[in-house]
């Protein structure tokens, strides 16, 4: 069977298993207690929740919605205005592929054994074996999953009366695939979709394309941008975020590496310190098809406006498992802190003139 046929077959299968009718019907059945988005929100009392969750392949879209609702319920109970789901927030849906659970278990066990023996070679072993297979799968599932995720989160945002960042999913445009995530308002309307702009080696290998533009979205309590994971390894992303007026950076992650605090420190935390923005990080962890993802959810701010002067407002206690972390953020205070910053916020127009041309060899 040709690759195209496999892709088409997968697409058809996913269209059937995660049909919009099925999603709508189930969401109606859930009889969620409708909540109105609080009208008294201001820039000084914003409450945000970031999801950290473990991959748990599901055999039906209903179980996937149940899992999401668990986090939604908790965020609403915590009086959050915004909830953020992690990168690759769709991995669990591979569970609807016949025979997936068995294959997944075999690959995970095999990888865990190799991991114990040869840490460095583990990743190569699996990626080499799975690249082509994963590209086909991703292309096949992209359209149905995008449609399904958008419908689910639109309905949940409306029912729970909350802003939701969907976490990232595979977006297919023409024949290109991207890693992208969407933002919904409490009326259930799509605010925008942002594609990832810096890729990992793994994503390059499986044919994911990158975007070259970042949009800022105005919410009633502040402006947000939604780059993804590796985008936070590059100061340029946050420099642009600041320039286009962002106050908060939503950053879903799923790190394909063993966790250490030092690896984690290469991402959003230093970016928040240098750019004077709030950083809201959600995270996916666990095993799937022999790959191990780790990472802590966290809410970060410039050192000066955190109690312990460590830049952390809230941080998950562990890099594995399910956690919902919540914190208050205050945009007015952020602006005041920028005015007082000792080591940031200076400008040097002469040095910055033609910086792009001088630095990146771009004409």
């Amino acid at each position: 069977m040709s690759v195209v046929n496999i892709e088409v077959l997968i697409e058809k299968w996913f269209n059937k298993k995660i049909s919009l009718e099925r999603i709508e019907k189930y969401c109606q059945q859930l009889s969620i207690k409708k909540r109105r988005f609080p009208e008294d929100i201001s820039q000084e009392n914003i409450r945000v929740s970031c999801v950290q969750r473990q991959i748990h392949p599901v055999n039906s879209i209903e179980r996937y919605i149940d899992m999401l609702c668990g986090f939604m319920n908790q965020a609403v109970k915590d009086n959050s205005h915004l909830i953020i789901f992690p990168e690759n927030n769709f991995f669990d849906l591979f569970g609807v592929i016949p025979g997936f659970h068995c294959l997944n278990q075999i690959l995970n066990k095999k990888a865990a054994k190799v991991k114990d023996k040869e840490k460095d070679e583990k990743k190569e072993f699996h990626l080499k074996g799975n690249n082509h297979f994963l590209t086909t799968i991703f292309k096949g599932v992209a359209k149905p999953i995008e449609a399904g995720i958008k419908r689910i989160f639109s309905l949940l945002a409306k029912e729970y009366g909350i802003y939701i960042y969907t976490g990232s999913y595979i977006l297919k445009e023409k024949e290109a695939i991207y890693n992208a995530g969407s933002l919904f308002n409490p009326e259930g309307n799509l605010i925008g979709t942002q594609k990832k702009m810096h890729l990992t080696d793994f994503e390059v290998k499986i044919g994911i394309k990158r975007a070259s533009k970042m949009d800022v979205y105005s919410l009633p309590f502040g402006k947000v941008v939604c780059p993804i994971c590796m985008d936070a390894t590059y100061f340029e992303t946050f420099r642009i975020a600041r320039e286009i007026g962002a106050d908060m950076v939503i950053l879903p992650i799923a790190n394909l590496e063993e966790y250490t605090i030092w690896k984690a420190l290469r991402g959003i935390w230093p970016r928040v310190q240098e750019s004077y923005l709030y950083g809201l990080k959600s995270s996916l962890n666990g095993w799937i098809v022999g790959m191990h993802f780790t990472g802590k959810a966290g809410i970060f701010a410039p050192l000066l406006i955190t109690e312990k002067k460590d830049g952390v407002l809230s941080l998950s206690p562990s890099y594995e498992g399910n956690h919902l972390i919540t914190a208050n953020i205050n945009i007015k205070r952020l602006y005041e802190t920028r005015e007082k910053a000792e080591y940031q916020e200076d400008k040097n127009t002469e040095f910055e003139e033609k910086y792009i041309e001088k630095t990146y060899s771009v004409n």
């Binding site: 070259s212 100061f235 290469r266 000792e342 080591y343 040097n348």
Partner: protein
């Protein structure tokens, strides 16, 4: 390449009461480094300013700046450098040019200033005191290694490190000194993370003395990309406030291997960066 970084505790700075005593102390550390076959040594940020303070009866910060003159200090270090086969970064000093005052550093080898670097961005206290800004960053090749100097406040401006990295810097020498409450997190948000996002080596030397009424702090550290450090923490050596001279062998082969595991600069998105308005041509 073997690199060293100096850190003197506050009480040691307090004991230095004359310019001659400081020169003697520098000499003492050059000798220690030579014994360990060090190729390059970095002294703390503001060491040159401290030298000037020692010969200034009125030690208020503003007065020191008004009388800024680094010539004597540089001459002393140049003279010392003739006696030792080692590249010396003498920390920073205030350099007057016309009516402008810069925080500057340099690399001195065998009696000659081989590289100069002015601080490009200013801290709030430096802005308030009317300092001027440098406008460029240059590299110098020493023993087949490309070196850059990134001074004090510039460690918090990633555009400086990025430019140095893309010009090919393999080692960054960084004399620093911070004001305010001693906070390890602040220092991590500086050169530690610049090393991780640019994957060069950095030799940072922290000033724990005082200038006028202003007290400074800073740990001395030698950094490398995470993947090549023993603890996976990006530290090749650090003083932890306990050692006055830290030394590390900088292995470029290991650095390249580390980069091959996690190559940050290979995924730069130049098309995207054209969205940076601040840096567009004016």
């Amino acid at each position: 390449m073997k690199a060293a970084s100096v850190e003197w505790k506050k009480n040691e700075w307090k004991r230095i009461d004359k310019p001659k005593a400081l020169v003697y102390k520098i000499k003492e550390y050059l000798e220690k480094a030579i014994k360990e076959q060090v190729d390059i040594i970095v002294f703390p940020g503001f060491t040159g300013c401290f030298f000037q303070q020692l010969s200034c009866p009125d030690r208020s910060m503003r007065n020191l700046i008004n009388k800024a003159d680094s010539r004597e200090y540089i001459e002393q270090v140049k003279e010392l450098s003739q006696g030792y086969k080692i590249a010396i970064c003498p920390g920073t000093y205030w350099q007057k040019e016309k009516n402008n005052i810069y925080n500057e550093s340099s690399l001195i080898i065998n009696g000659e200033v081989q590289l100069k670097q002015r601080q490009i961005y200013l801290a709030r206290w430096e802005r308030e005191l009317g300092f001027s800004r440098g406008v460029k960053i240059e590299l110098r090749e020493i023993k087949d290694w490309r070196l850059a100097l990134i001074i004090s406040t510039d460690v918090f401006y990633p555009q400086v490190s990025r430019m140095a990295a893309l010009k090919g810097a393999e080692i960054v020498l960084s004399p620093v000194g911070f004001i305010g409450e001693n906070n390890r997190a602040l220092q991590i948000s500086g050169m530690w993370q610049e090393v991780q996002q640019n994957q060069f080596f950095a030799v940072e030397s922290g000033f724990n003395g005082f200038l006028g009424e202003q007290s400074f702090w800073g740990e001395s550290v030698i950094y490398a990309p995470l993947e090549m450090t023993e603890g996976g923490d990006g530290y090749l050596e650090r003083s932890s406030g306990q050692q006055s001279l830290i030394i590390a062998e900088l292995d470029n082969k290991k650095r390249r291997k580390a980069i091959s595991k996690f190559d940050v600069l290979s995924q730069l998105n130049r098309e995207f960066y054209q969205q940076m308005k601040m840096f567009r041509g004016r």
